[in-house]
Each structure stands twice: as structure tokens, then as C-alpha cells.
Amino acid sequence: MILHILTKAPDSSAATQMQQAIGEHDTVLLIEEAATAALDTSWAAWQQCQSRIFLLSEDLTSRGLAGIAANNELPTLEMQGFVALTEQYEKTVTWY
């Protein structure tokens, strides 16, 4: 099982490549520019990963997207939760 970290927007080629690489039991964390995924609830990865995809809170807040993520009822994690995910997953791949 792999933890995928995406740092680029959902319409980037990094995102497309990640989506190809996500396995059935993998988890996804959206950080930095990937926080803009909060704006797009129709993004395929939301469906593809269901309960195994999260936005990093601090990157939402700094970009003014925290309210939108909450309105869209999207799952978020604090930095401590990010660390907890890396504890669970032996392998981590960052897509940038």
C-alpha cells in the first residue's frame, strides 16, 4: 500500500500521472498547489479514492480555501495527521 502525495493542481500532468498510479488500497494526500482540488468536487480522484483522500489544512487556509473545502464537505488533515499517514504507509510517492 502506498501513500501518494500530490503537490500540483488537479488539472496538472502530475495529477493525471498520479491517478494512473493509484492502487485499490492506496491513500492520497493533497498538499501545496493540490489544495485547489477543494474547488473541484467533480475531480475524478475524489470518486476514485473515496474515503482515502485528504486535503492538508494549512495549505487550504493559506490559500483562502478552507471555507470552500468545509462547504464542499471534503476531508482534511492537520500536519500531525500527515505524519500519522506516513507512519501507516511504508511507501510514499510524491507527484510534483
Binding site: 474547488l39 493559506s62 483562502g64
Partner: protein
């Protein structure tokens, strides 16, 4: 219409992702300080520079809003936002700071043509 010799600074990058936004705004402020008429056009992710709710980022990453607020003091009062970009990001106009003016996508080429000088960030 843009005044003669006006500079259009195009902003296409979001806060915190890189230094493009900050360095683009710096160019706009310096041009205005030199007395050049300046207008700004926000496209794509650059529109996020105008989101009302932004704050500073990870430690040491400065917030952008104070710079946006400063624009008016430098007589930069035209902040154009490409409407299609706003829509494709699912953002509403009222999530943006005051002073942003929507422009239809088909008016964008005209805006570029009106300006004698363009800098694209």
C-alpha cells in the same frame, strides 16, 4: 480604454506556490511608482491572489493580501479577472476582494491590444 503607454501586468500564478505572483506584483508596484499607468489581469490560478480569505502560509511564507491592498495606494485600480477562469475554478465573484472587475473571456485579447506594454507573470 487603457491610457497611452499603459502597462498590463498579467498574473497567472497562485500565492505560495512559487514567487511568480510576488515578483509580478512587485513589477506592477515599481512601474506605478515610476508614474507609469498600470492595469492588472488575473488569469487561471492567478485569480487566487484575490481570494478574500487567504492568510500567510507555512512559517515564513508571507501573505499576499497586504500587497493586493497596497495596489490602490499606487493608483492601480483596474484589477481585471477573466470570467471563464473564475467559472472554471468554481469560484464566485463575491469570494474575491473588492475592486476586482470581471471581464468576459472574449474581451481578453482586446485588453492585451489596448496596452502598449505587457509583462506576463
Amino acid at each position: 480604454m487603457a491610457p497611452p503607454d499603459a502597462l498590463l501586468v498579467v498574473i497567472r500564478h497562485a500565492p505560495h506556490g512559487s514567487n511568480w505572483l510576488r515578483e509580478g506584483l512587485d513589477a506592477a508596484l515599481v512601474a506605478a511608482a515610476f508614474g507609469q499607468p498600470v492595469q492588472l489581469l488575473f488569469m487561471g490560478q492567478g485569480i487566487m491572489a484575490l481570494l478574500k480569505e487567504q492568510s500567510s502560509g507555512a512559517p515564513g511564507q508571507k501573505a499576499t493580501l497586504p500587497t493586493i491592498d497596497m495596489l490602490e495606494m499606487y493608483d492601480i485600480d483596474k484589477l481585471w479577472v477573466a470570467e471563464g477562469g473564475l467559472q472554471s475554478m468554481n469560484l464566485s465573484a463575491d469570494s474575491l476582494v473588492e475592486g476586482a472587475t470581471l471581464i468576459a473571456d472574449k474581451e481578453v485579447p482586446g485588453l492585451l491590444h489596448q496596452h502598449t506594454k505587457i509583462l506576463n507573470f
